[in-house]
Every structure is written in C-alpha cells, then in structure tokens.
Amino acid sequence: MIHSLFLINSSGDIFLEKHWKSVVSRSVCDYFFEAQERATEAENVPPVISTPHHYLLSVYRHKIFFVAVIQTEVPPLFVIEFLHRVVDTFQDYFGVCSEPVIKDNVVVVYEVLEEMLDNGFPLATESNILKELIKPPTILRTVVNTITGSTNVGDQLPTGQLSVVPWRRTGVKYTNNEAYFDVIEEIDAIIDKSGSTITAEIQGVIDACVKLTGMPDLTLSFMNPRLLDDVSFHPCVRFKRWESERILSFIPPDGNFRLLSYHVSAQNLVAIPVYVKHNISFRDSSSLGRFEITVGPKQTMGKTIEGVTLSSQMPRGVLNMSLTPSQGTHTFDPVTKMLSWDVGKINPQKLPSLKGTMSLQAGASKPDENPTINLQFKIQQLAISGLKVNRLDMYGEKYKPFKGIKYMTKAGKFQVRT
C-alpha cells in the first residue's frame, strides 16, 4: 500500500513529507529528480518511475509534484486516484492548493493526511467526514483558536463512518433548503486545416450543491438519457434504478459534490459551435509572413459565445508579430513564441478577426511545423449534447426545497490545426 508522500515544488525542493509506515529516506526522490531533469517540461515527467526498491507515482498539480512511494505491487490507478483526492481535499480546505498555503497550514495538512490513510489503506477520503474530523481553517476560527488555545481538531467523532450512507453526515439542518445542479459540458475536438472535424467528443458532468435538511432522497430524470454513452456515478447513486429506469436516485452528500460524469463519444454527431478561418503563410524567400484569423459562430442554437480566447504556439523561426485585432486584446511573447488573443464575446454581425504580419528570422528557411490553435470559449444556458433534465423530486422529508438547474458548454481540448 501507499508508503509515503512527498510534495516537491517545481524548483525541486521537498517541502513536505509524510510516512504512513516506516520512514522512507528522502534520497528516494533523487530518482524522481533525474526523471524531472530528463523531461523538458514539468508536464512530461512520467507518472510511474521505478527505482531499485520502490516505485514512485506522481501527479503534477498547481505547480506541485505529489509523489507517492510504494514498495509492493499496488494498482497505480489506485495511488493516482488517491493523490487526486489529496489535491482536491487541500483545495477544498484552503481554497487554493499552493506551496505557501500548504506551508502555512502544515499542521492541518498533517492531521488531514493522517486521517486519510491508515497504514497505507484509505480511511476517510470523503470531504464530508474529513471536515467533521478536522475543521477547515477560517480567519474567524484562527482568531478564536489563538485566544482560547483550541485547535482545528474536531471534538466530535466521525459518526458518518458508522452509517450506511458514509458520504452524508447526520443531523444536517438548514433554514433555506436548496438543491442546485450544474450541467457542464466540455467539447474536446480536433479540427483539421480545411475546417472539417477529425474527432469530437463531449465530456459532461453534473455538479451539485445540495443543502437540504435531514435525509432527503432525490430522484432526477432526463428527457433524453439515451444520449449518454458512458456514465460514472457518485457512490450515492443507486445503479439498479439507472439500469432499469434510467433515473438517478440517490441520497445526496451534504454540500458540493459531483453527481455524475458522462461521455458522448465521437460515434454520435457532435455539434461544433465555432469555426476558425485562418490564413497563416510563410514564404521561403521573404522574412515576412502573413497572419490572419477570423472566429465565427456555427451551431450555437441561438446562444452567444463568450469568453473566447485563442492561443497558439508559433514556430521558433517567428521573431515577432505585428497584429491588429478587430476586438479584444492580444499578446505575443517573443521568448516562448506564445500568441494569445482574448476575444471576449462573438458578435455574429461583426466577426472578430486578427490580422497582420509575422517577422521571421532573416535568411532561415520557412518553419517546418504549422502552429495549432487552441480555443477556449463558453456558452451559457446550453448543453451542446442536447441533454435536458426532466424533473427533480424529493422524498423522505416534508419541506419543499428550492431547486435550480443551470447548463453550460465549454471548450475542453479544442484544437484547430492550420
């Protein structure tokens, strides 16, 4: 099972270590540093590294490497999933997960890690239970603690761990009972030079914020559940009812949680809401290149596309660019060769464009690679797959909750090749 955890910052300092069994020497991380040196970028460090006596599994999040050390055959996904849970917990506790924040809250961090694993076996990984055991730090509590001398360790015992619904704490009380659901879809797509779709798929999630008194039992049904190709549920969802009736039936955890994530695959036709017209040309003899990009809406079902940003890694041969956008702002970093253009909203009457010239290294041959354009955008009130929630019902409690549902479509890994 999981032996130890090291947190390493991007400059290669181990700033936190935690051992759940015997102590593993820090020197084991040398193998990790070697791999880190070999990889040109932090993202490229291989997630599984073998050393003579241990295996190192790492994830890179928020500019921190979370390196778990294992000694025996443990499923790597088990370890990586656990590390993700650690990251999520930190974020949940401290708002952000960064080196200074972890250093500031080192006591809470150790307490939380101690509760998450017992001898390498996961113990309490649900944020509901953890928060009962160890209260997250707030400014008010810090002040109170300094005065009264108490700490963040809860004086309550984790009663939830004994119940049949370990994800929900007991005795929840709210004056306003409300349940909000966000259907968020991300489009991953690769569009080729000519504008046709090479591959497109939708990753969707339903995130929920449920603040309901007592032990409510909810059911949520869709207008068109057949759309979903593959679903993964929060443990609270009763799988049988989904199998037989395509209804989500569950006792929700308290607070924020991810109810469902789903996948609409490339087999189904995925609507692409934007198009990018581009004309990037280098000429062999001249040291100037032409650059022109226009973005426009495609299948948006009448909704506005907002928060559009384009970024592109230009070839090394490009020295500088002089461009004029019709709207928004753009930057080009001559060192990293990263061009980014913050467009904002797309007005279908007046399509935003970015035009100008690129100055290339004089005398050099034209660059071999074509830049790929990365696109970000958001569309409110639209689930691009067409998924719609039919209704939400509550059983088991008397009061009438306030219900809300929101849809949003975002670009995931949306790439346009040129």
Partner: protein, 907 residues
C-alpha cells in the same frame, strides 16, 4: 509538527496525559507515541495499559482509535501486549472497530509475521470475509491480500463459491477503495464453469460505471479474465464486449497520469481482444498538448488498431504528427507510417508516397527516420518500390545517424544493379570508414560485397579495399570475422558466395513488437497493476527473492463437460499378471550371475569449441573464375591469405549455406559421441519474437553436470551486448550455475554457441507440464521470455543404480496405483543394446531375466531431487514394441520418464 525539534525527552510526561477524556488531547498523545515510541521502547510499555483500557471503552470510535494507534507503534515489546486487545476488537460488535482491527492485523504482520500466525489472527481474518458488514469484508480482503503478497505460497485467500458470493454482495456496498480490493481479489478466483463466470461478470459489470478509474480498471481486469471462459457464440459475450469499450474510452478523457496507465493497459487489451476497441480509433488521436508519454502510447495503440478500414484516417493523422515540434514524437510517427505499410498491405503504396512527401520536407531527422522505415518496407515488399530509390539517394549527404546511414547503405547494396552510380555512392562512404559506427561498417562491408557480386568487373578494387579495411585495419572482431568470411567465400567459391550473400531473405514479420501470447495471457491477469504498466510479469521485477504466483487465464470449460484427468496411462496388463512379472528373490539371484554390466561409464570430457582449423587453405583459385577476364586482378599482391595467427574461430557466424558451412560443422558432431543422449538444437525463441535475437538450444548431461547448450543468433541490424539469463522457478530447481558469458558483443548476423552449466539448487515450484522451463534472456535491447520443455533424462544422476534387494523391497513398497504402463513402439534393438544405451543416459539395469522367451529388464534411475523411479522393461525378441512399467512414489514423473525412454531408445 514539532518543527523538527526532538521532544522525546518529554516521554514520561506525555504518557501521563494519555488517560484523559479530552479526545483532542488523546489524539495528540497518540500521535506523539507513534513518533517517539521507537526511540524509547522501554518507556513505551507504560502506555500499554491505557491502550488496553481504551480498547474496552464504551465508545466504538475510541476503541477503534486505540487499536489503530497501537498497530502503528513499531516496537516489538508492545506488539506482544497488543494481541489480546486486537483479538477482542476483531470480534467487536461494532463493524467500525472490526474493520479497523482487520487492517491492524496487516500492520502487526508487517512487524512480526510469526506472532500473527501463532496467535491465529489469520484465521480470524479469514472469518471476517464472511462478515455481515461490507466495509469489514473489504478491509479483511485488503489485509489478507497484503499479507498474501509477502507469502505467495500460503493459501490465504482460498476462495470458494460461497465466499465469492459474499464478496460480490459486499462489492455493491463498500467504499470505492474497498471495491478495488475486492475486485482484485475476485480476479484471482477461477470459476468452475462458464455459467459461474457469467454470473460473476454480470455482477461486476455495474462497477464499470464507477467514478473512480481504479475501480473501473479492476473491473475490466475481472471481466477480461472471466471472458476467457465464455463461449464466443454466447449472446452475453457480445454484450460484454460492447460494454467494455465506453469505460475504456472514458478513461482517456481523464488526467494525463490516469490516461497513461489506462493506455498501457489498453495496449494489452487491444492485443488480446482487438474487437473491443476497433471502432474507437479516433479517441487515440493525439492532441498537440498531450504530455509526451501519452502521445507515444497513443501512437502505439493507433498502429495496433490500424486496419484496411481506417488506414486512410490513420495515415492522415500520422502525417500531421510528423510536422510537430517534439523530435521523439515525430520520429515515432514516421516509424509508425512504415509499420502501417508493413501491416496493411493495401496501404503500402500510400504509405510510401507519404514517406516520400516527408522526405521532401528535408527536415533532417524526418528524412533519416523515413529512410530507416523504407528499408523495412523494401524487405517486406521486395522489388516493388524501387522507383523511390532515386529520391532517397538525393538525401545521402544529410544522413548523419548510424541507423539511417546503415539503412541507406543496405538499400544501395540490395539494389546495386539498378543504381547506376552505386559504386560511387558506396565509395563515398568508404572514405571515412574508420569513423563510422560498427553498424554502418558491417553494412558497408556487406553492401560492397553484394555490389561486387552483381557487378564484378568495375568494383574489384572497391571490394579489396573494404576487405582489407575490415580485416587488417579494424579492431572490431565482428567486423574482422565478417571480413574474413567474405574474403574466403569470394576466393573459394564465388558461385557459392553469390548464393550465400545474395540469398533470398526471409520476409520480415508484420508486427514486430507484439507481446508473446503466454506472457500476454499472464499480463491480462495483471491488468491495472504495475506489471501491466511495465508489460513484464511481476516475477521479472518484484523486489527480492519473493516468488510470485504465476497467474494464467482460466481455460474454457463448459458446465456440461466432466473434468478428465489428463494423464491416463494406457491400459496395460491386468493387475494379476503384473504380480508374475516381479521376480522372486531366488530367481533374481540366479539371474544376477548373468549380468554383464560394468560400473557406470562416464563419457570423456567433451571436446568442443577450440577446434583449430589451422591453416586450412581456403584461398584457392576460385576467384579466377569470377574475374577471369581481368588478368591483373588476380590478387597476388592484394589477396594474400589473412594472417595465420587469426585462425578461424569455431563460432563463425553469418548465415552460410553450401560447402563452407560443412567445414565449420565439425563442432556439432563431436559432443554427441558419449554421455547422455543430446537432442538436436531446436529453435526456442524465434527472431521475430525477440527483436532479432534467435535462440536455439538443447540440454546435455556430461559427467554429472547438466548444461544448456545455446546458440544465439543476432538477426537484427544492431549489435547485441549485455546478455544475461534467468530461469523461473521450476519443478526440479534447475538454475544457471554461472552467468551467461557472451564475451564479445554479438554483431548482426553473428552466431555464438554457449554452453551454460546448470545446477539443481534453484527454488522449486511445480510446473505444468512438469518439465516446463521458463527462461528470460536479457540483452541491451530488451528482455525476452520463452519456455521450453527439457528432456527428463538430463536429470538422471550417475549413482542411480539401486541395490537389487533394495529394488525388490521398494518395488513392493510402492502401491500399485502408482504404477504406469507404457508401450515403446518400433524399437529394433535387443536387450543388450537397450541396456547399454540406457546406461549411458544413467538408467541402470539392476537385473535381467528371461521369462517365457521375453527379456525382462529391471532398471532403476534417480532424479536430481532424489526421487527414485523403478522400471520394468519387457522385450520380446522379434517384436519391436516394448512394454514399460514404471513405479515411482511421485507418479507424475512417470509420463516424462517414459518420454525420456522413447527419446533415448529411438535416437
């Protein structure tokens, strides 16, 4: 928490605070104890009382906390006191305490394994598998799995249909981590028939929809394994196949680290059951900001999934990738295009034109990589795409990597007759001969010889030049050897040389890096583990000498079929008759006088390797015939015979046909004259499965020592070094007695013969079949696995002759059920010849008797592990079929002893 300060001095004071009701304080004290108990073991005893008391606290959470903390104190003295409270907690009424206690057993086992076994905690833990609470079941399974890992032989997780049912019930209700433990445990179970397999699959399938990817992958493992048992025509089989694809695709949209592990596993799944993901090619298309390790894996799977149906799409993608920035990735993409050409014949033309387009980009590394793969395409489709050679030649100057240069030289040599200026091209390479890498030098030598054989008139000078460079000015033995061989070949028999050098080459295999099927089957059982990430069985890399139980896919059994014992001895004489056959003591005594057996004869030591060829004059006038019309070329000044000191080594490599090979064949004949029978070498590991390394071999037994005679042939294009060999545990503990000694690097096309001494002191594990030997051979390229069956007679020891009294007593002593009868057909030998032939293989005739015109030979032999086998061989003069009865306390060896008899007598 103490900011690095050592506060162990406060130990007594802190322990005093332990008996508090304040939970927070208690927790802090516990934390303190965990950290400092080790430094103050004597003081730690003081804490025991409180722990024992806390273990009886009315609050279950306190009880659990106490038992959890106690397990974390790694002090031997404390663990003894832990036993009683732990026992109580394992039977606690509250499931939370039981589940904590279950993990505590694993902790304790880590500290003191013997104690855990003595105290019977393992049995209690096993009982917890049938606990009513799913969380307890999950933790018990987790604890048992961890303990089992350090005790591979112990049968801790003994699963039966009842416990499986319990686990399946618990599976639905426990936490995600518990589900992983249970699924991994289920994967070790072998259902008794297809119906049971199907019902387990049905109950595991819902786990594919779990949010935790580790749960999903563990479920995939169970399904992949049990699917093996389902019949393909079953409707359910098809449904299951369809259900497997979406979760695997979803894993690919997760974080890059998860993707990487998933991809490594998908790589295995695609090789085992390509049908699952055959329609999902698009999800493996690479995004430009994927981390490099994900990109490379995706590319690998794309090639595996490439088929006629999707090749156009794949090629378009690959071409796109070839213009990316990352050099490694671009190279692999170019290589992938070549592999597509080789895999999908219909696409070859398109692939070649794509490669040509890429060559036109003039990007240095793209051109080089393209040339390397085009060479492979030429090997697969000879004489089809020569039109591109002109384009390739244009880029000759830009090649600076050895592999690309070697590939280009190969192409020029191979198609020398169609390239007008082939001699000029090769000559230009020859100028810097000494600066080239060995790979290029060897290739250049071969190419020029090829050129010479095709156009002897113009290139004679060139070939002389290269031969002298290779033989006289080079320090590389491989190069020298190859130079000499060509030299001799050319001078002795140019016609033969032509046949040898320009022989038709075997086609290269379609997929070069498929995992060996048996290994693949094993790895399928390890989906989701580190083994699947490394594509190696755990035995190859798990720490220390810890053995690992080999897993294998279950065989397909239909529920209706009854199990049949695989070894049913052929029906022989009825039992009554057998009694007559056993000689009475009196008879035996008389017969013994007739025995004409000498003491065991051991063969003379084997004279192998150093066969001196001496000054055999291989350089004849053969060259004249080839260059007849060029009088001044007959090489008096240049074609002097190579320095006499360089006698031809015995292990001349290079695939040679015709007359020359006979000359060198002397070695192989010598060894077989004495000692046990030696089977001819068989190919154990074909080159296509081992990236060009071909291994053939046999086993010998000489004067009490066993050895494995290996012949390693390098059929790849790169030099092989760093050989090492390792055996898996086997039935008789065979293990190499010395490391594999390959003194010089093995150059392409070179062969080396090695005799590897073996001993029988390795670890023992019963194999199926009994004489199965799994071997791993490593070289600088990779690790390869193969398995072979060794003949049992190499294990017959020299002192296997039993005293006749003893023989008689033992024969009677061994129960009749252990007797197996076999028939040896078509053996024309008489009793004397049989007896002496068997004796040279250490099967000793104890007594001989003639009953009713039949010769009865009573024989004994002993195996290296001390097992005696007694045999009775009935020979009827004039009848070439012998009857063999074998008696042994370990009846499973009989079958193999019979096979040994067969082999010895028939060869």
């Amino acid at each position: 928490m103490t900011v690095g300060k050592d506060v162990s001095a406060l130990f007594p004071d802190v322990v005093n605070c332990m008996q508090t009701d304040n939970l927070e304080l208690k927790k802090l004290v516990y934390l303190y104890l965990m950290n400092y108990a080790k430094s103050q073991p004597d003081m730690a005893i003081m804490a025991v009382n409180t722990f024992v008391k806390d273990c009886e606290d009315p609050n279950p959470l306190i009880r659990a906390l106490a038992v959890r903390t106690m397990g974390c104190i790694r002090v031997d003295k404390i663990t003894e006191y832990l036993c009683e409270p732990l026992r109580k907690c394992l039977k606690d009424e509250d499931p939370y305490v039981r589940k904590t206690a279950a993990v505590c057993v694993a902790k304790l086992h880590d500290i003191n394994a013997q104690l855990v076994e003595d105290q019977g905690f393992l049995d209690t833990l096993k009982d917890l598998i049938s606990d009513s609470n799913p969380m307890v079941v999950a933790n018990a399974v987790a604890a048992l799995s961890e303990i089992a890992e350090s005790h591979p032989s112990s049968n801790l997780l003994d699963l039966n249909p009842q416990s499986i049912n319990k686990l399946l019930t618990a599976l639905n209700e426990c936490t995600e981590w518990g589900q992983i433990f249970i699924l991994d445990c289920l994967a070790n179970y072998t259902p008794k028939d297809d119906r049971e397999a199907q019902s387990i699959c049905e109950r595991v399938t819902p786990r594919l929809s779990h949010a935790n990817s580790a749960v999903v992958l563990s479920a995939v493992k169970v399904l992949m394994k049990f699917m093996e048992m389902l019949s393909k025509d079953l409707d359910y089989y098809g449904t299951l196949l369809k259900k497997l694809a979406p979760p695997l695709v979803t894993l690919l949209s997760a974080e890059p680290e998860l993707q990487y592990v998933a991809l490594r596993n998908i790589n295995l799944i695609v090789q085992k059951r390509p049908e699952i993901l055959k329609h999902e090619m698009k999800v493996f298309f690479v995004k430009y900001n994927d981390p490099i390790y994900v990109k490379l894996e995706k590319l690998d799977i794309m090639i595996r999934l490439a088929s006629q149906a999707n090749i156009a799409q794949v090629l378009a993608e690959l071409k796109e990738y070839a213009t990316e920035v990352d050099v490694d990735f671009v190279r692999k993409a170019v290589r992938a295009i070549g592999r597509c050409a080789i895999k999908v014949e219909q696409s070859a033309e398109r692939c070649v034109s794509t490669l040509l387009d890429l060559i036109q980009t003039k990007v240095n590394y793209v051109v080089q990589e393209a040339i390397v793969v085009i060479k492979d395409i030429f090997r697969k489709y000879p004489n089809k795409y020569e039109s591109v050679i002109a384009t390739l030649c244009e880029n000759l100057d830009s090649l600076d990597e050895p592999e690309a240069r070697a590939a280009m030289i190969w192409i020029v040599g191979e198609y020398a007759e169609r390239i007008d200026n082939a001699d000029e091209l090769l000559e230009s390479f020859l100028e810097g001969f000494h600066d080239e890498s060995t790979q290029v030098q060897l290739q250049l030598l071969t190419a020029i010889v090829k050129l010479f054989l095709k156009k002897p008139t113009e290139t004679q000078e060139l070939v002389q030049q290269v031969l002298s460079l290779a033989t006289q000015d080079s320090d590389n033995p491989d190069l020298r050897d190859r130079g000499y061989i060509y030299w001799r070949l050319l001078s002795t028999d140019p016609v033969a040389a032509k046949e040898v050098v320009l022989a038709e080459k075997p086609l290269i295999s379609e997929e070069t890096d498929l995992i060996e099927p048996t290994l693949l089957d094993e790895l399928i059982c390890y989906i989701g583990t580190l083994a699947s990430v490394y594509h190696k069985p755990p035995s190859a890399f798990v720490e220390g000498g810890r053995g690992v139980v080999h897993k294998s896919l279950p065989p397909r059994t239909a529920s209706s079929e009854s199990t049949e014992s695989p070894e049913t001895a052929p029906a022989g004489a009825p039992p009554g008759e057998q009694l007559d056959v056993i000689p009475t003591q009196g008879d035996l005594l008389g017969d013994l006088l007739n025995l004409d057996l000498g003491p065991p004869v051991s063969g003379p030591p084997l004279a192998t390797s150093s066969v001196q060829m001496g000054a055999v004059d291989l350089l004849g006038s053969g060259l004249d015939s080839l260059m007849g019309d060029e009088p001044e070329g007959i090489g008096t000044p240049n074609f002097v015979s190579p320095p006499a000191a360089a006698a031809v080594p015995a292990n001349l490599g290079a695939p040679m046909g015709s007359g020359l090979s006979d000359l060198f064949d002397l070695t192989s004949g010598v060894g077989t004259l004495s000692g046990s029978y030696v089977a001819p070498k068989a190919v154990w590991l074909p080159a296509m499965k081992a990236k060009g390394l071909e291994i053939s071999g046999t086993f010998t037994r000489q004067v009490g020592s066993i050895s494995m005679d290996l012949q390693l042939t390098n059929k790849a294009l790169q030099v092989m070094t760093d050989f090492a060999i390792q055996f898996n545990r086997n039935s008789f503990g065979l293990a190499p007695a010395a490391p594999l000694q390959v003194h010089a690097p093995l150059s392409p096309n070179q062969t080396v013969e090695i005799s590897l001494p073996l001993n029988t002191v390795g670890s023992v594990m019963k194999m199926e079949p009994l004489n199965n030997l799994q071997v791993a051979v490593k070289n600088n390229i990779d690790v390869f696995y193969f398995s072979t069956l060794y003949p049992l007679h190499i294990l017959f020891v020299e002192d296997g002759k039993m005293d006749r009294q003893m023989f008689l007593a033992t024969w009677k002593d061994i129960p009749n059920e252990n007797e197996a009868q076999f028939q040896i057909r078509d053996c024309p030998l008489n009793a004397e010849a049989v007896s002496s032939r068997l004796q040279s293989s250490n099967i000793f005739t104890v007594a001989k008797r003639n009953v009713e015109g039949q010769d009865m030979l009573y024989q004994s032999l002993k195996l290296t592990n001390g097992i005696w086998v007694l045999a009775e061989l009935r020979i009827q003069p004039g009848n070439p079929s012998f009857m063999l009865s074998l008696k042994c306390r370990a009846p499973e060896v009989s079958q193999h002893v019979y096979q040994a008899y067969e082999t010895i007598l028939k060869n």
